[in-house]
Symmetry: C2
Subunit: 158 residues, 2 copies
DNA sequence: ATTGACTGTTATGTTGCATAGCATTATTTT
DNA sequence: AAAATAATGCTATGCAACATAACAGTCAAT
């Protein structure tokens, strides 16, 4: 099996996999691209993309976060969140409030409409994921989520 | 556990996960982005990117493939492989040969240098993946690879 | 009080990914 | 055989994701 061959390769010092298909990164990219296609298609009904959904969810799950904090949480650039927030704000999905103690910071709070929209998007995405993960048991999905989290949280804080 | 809560949610018909962190797609994207960072950094020594490596490996693993076939294998657009092939060709990593029976098709064959470079890149990527996957056992890595393949091969042929 | 750091923001560039169209060659249908 | 259909390699082009540099305003630290 591929596991045995890889193990043997590593033990002998020839640690490089033999084929493209042996690379986890290859499958990660293919699976992620496939997911993003489906996710953005599912969200098309809501008129938003995955990035906007992630930002909105970060606000609803952390009322009062600042834009900079969202960027740290989602690992995105401060410059790139501006347009996303402008879009969400124009739809009335969150409100900006001045921080009482720090005039640089805008605290972001979800509106009722924002919470509704977040729930709506989650249900759309949930349906998409259900289709995408049909070949995996619920236990396997948990395992997969757990392993993926291990991978990217090894980036020096996640 | 999160698996139980998800299972219960599905059984009750409230199939949408509650949090961003529950979405497999979220972790897929984060893990893939993290991998691509590291992979491209590792390949910087070779002066190529992951996309070029995938194309080169497809050639070395399938001598005589055409560009269109590579595009189908790697799920990329014919228009976008042109620059990649031009780069690989300028480095003498493969040769184009006219197809005996079809003048539209160019058959691509790796050169000796191309095979060396492919092996070199595989060892660089292997080292990168070893670091990235340090938190997973070899059995878990096989499991992960298997599950990811299930996900993206469900796209209507892989 | 000055230095340094952080926030939100604009401007800009790069890369990946997707579409449309084209000339050439093959295949299929009539 | 002729005509319609399709595939190949390719150019041009656009959009979206992602990254850098710089800015003014505000705060913190020395």
């Amino acid at each position: 099996m591929s596991g045995e061959s890889l193990k043997k390769a590593q033990e002998t010092g020839a640690e490089s996999p033999l084929q493209l298909r042996d690379l986890i990164g290859y499958h990660l990219k293919r699976a992620s691209a496939w997911d993003l296609h489906g996710a953005n298609a599912a969200l098309e009904a809501a008129g938003l993309r995955t990035v906007s959904m992630s930002v909105l969810l970060t606000i609803t799950e952390n009322p009062g976060v600042s834009a900079a904090e969202i960027c740290r949480i989602l690992r995105m650039q401060r410059a790139n969140i501006v347009a996303v927030l402008a879009e969400l704000e124009s739809r009335g999905l969150f409100l900006r409030e001045a921080d009482p103690g720090d005039n640089r910071i805008q605290r972001l709070f979800p509106t009722a409409k924002g919470r509704e929209e977040a729930q709506h998007m989650l249900s759309l995405i949930g349906a998409h994921e259900e289709k995408m993960l049909a070949g995996l048991t619920l236990a396997e999905r948990d395992e997969l989520r757990r392993m993926l989290a291990i991978i990217w949280r090894e980036d020096g804080e996640g």
